[in-house]
């Protein structure tokens, strides 16, 4: 910490970053976890800029929060919701064992860092040198000199890596259509042939005070029809029960009958 303003920024943002990272660990829904990681990455970008790494801070926000995390959210939407979000452990005692390992790792790293002797003068000289480099050739110029000078070979190899990754993603995401596409007319013909749901699947329930897609329709015997709600809503556990609505409806019907009798 060189200045009190930096210390203030650090102690304000660091707890937020830790809480957001814990959100990744404990959030039940994957989207919430992704938003927590986005917050951590934005805060890390601010830390980079605070630590005189201007270029890297901007790249962090562009590349990580802008590209990588949006890609994550995109794939979350594609893959959809399933039971893997549940936190029931499948291997007995796995959670405690991993907690033990993580605490051990953190303790090991903490004590290793704590045991190192940091010479304040050397560190201050280093920080001063960084500030001077940022002032005279500039941060971007300095990084560019290293990338295109000392590390130019790594930079070239990186391009090969990126092209390989792009090709790999294309190969993995490609899907050959093995069976011909079933048209709407063929679906209709199949329904009639099998004599099942000939008129199509039933529409969701329409009640006196509710007609959203999350309420099932009632069968003639009064039980809710599972075919009338989308299976996505069932997987998300967002299907409402029709019982209370049915009670309200009966109440209204009785009132109307009583009114007619009077």
């Amino acid at each position: 910490m060189t200045s009190s303003s930096e210390a203030f920024g650090f102690w304000t943002l660091a707890p937020i970053a830790v809480i957001a990272a814990l959100g990744l660990l404990f959030a039940r829904k994957a989207v919430h976890a992704a938003l927590g990681v986005v917050l951590v990455m934005v805060i890390l970008g601010i830390f980079y800029i605070m630590q005189n790494a201007d270029f890297l801070g901007v790249v962090q926000i562009f590349v990580y929060t802008g590209a990588v995390m949006m890609l994550f959210l995109f794939v979350l939407m594609l893959v959809g919701v399933d039971s893997s979000d549940s936190v029931v452990e499948t291997i007995k005692g796995q959670r405690w064992a991993s907690l033990l390992l993580v605490v051990g790792l953190a303790g090991l790293l903490f004590f290793t860092i704590g045991a190192t002797v940091v010479d304040e003068k050397t560190v201050q000289a280093g920080i001063d040198k960084t500030v001077a480099t940022n002032a005279d050739p500039g941060n971007i110029t300095g990084v560019a000199e290293l990338i295109f000078g000392q590390y130019v070979w790594i930079f070239e190899v990186t391009s090969a890596l990126l092209i390989t990754a792009a090709l790999g993603a294309m190969v993995l995401a490609h899907r050959e259509r093995l069976t011909p596409r079933i048209t709407q007319a063929e679906w209709a013909a199949k329904r009639v042939r099998d004599n099942r749901d000939v008129a199509g699947l039933p529409a969701p329930g329409v009640y006196a005070r509710h007609n959203a897609v999350d309420t099932p329709a009632l069968l003639p015997d009064g039980t809710p029809s599972s075919k009338s709600v989308s299976r996505v809503l069932v997987a998300r556990d967002q299907v409402a029960t029709a019982d209370s609505l049915r009670d309200v409806e009966r109440h209204l019907e009785r009132e109307i009958e009583e009114g007619g009798a009077k």
């Binding site: 650090f10 830790v18 951590v40 590349v63 794939v75 893997s84 990338i147 990126l162 790999g168």
Partner: protein, 96 residues
């Protein structure tokens, strides 16, 4: 120096996520968190030494992470398409 401690905490949380969560996408986000935590320590050490090499290293880590994300998410999509699930426990096709 406090930045390095923060980096350790974030790295440990990332490790815990990888070890305990079952959704493959969340596990992958834990890996990303670990990479970010190491980047933070690289930048901090770069500043303490007054040399820009650490920042260049962090930049290359970002590039490799971006390539890794592209391939990893493509694999997750391919498995979830084949197995209709993104759970790491369901991927046991090679098990006897």
């Amino acid at each position: 120096m406090y930045y390095v401690y923060l980096s350790v905490i974030l790295f440990s949380i990332g490790t815990a996520t990888v070890l305990t969560r079952r959704n493959a996408i969340i596990v992958f986000m834990g890996v990303e968190l670990m990479l970010n935590a190491t980047n933070l320590s690289l930048v901090t050490f770069s500043r303490m030494h007054g040399a820009l090499d650490g920042q260049v290293m962090a930049l290359f880590v970002m590039v490799v992470a971006a390539a890794e994300v592209v391939v990893g998410l493509a694999i997750i999509m391919a498995t979830s398409r084949a197995r209709r699930s993104a759970s790491v426990d369901d991927a046991n096709l090679l098990k006897l």
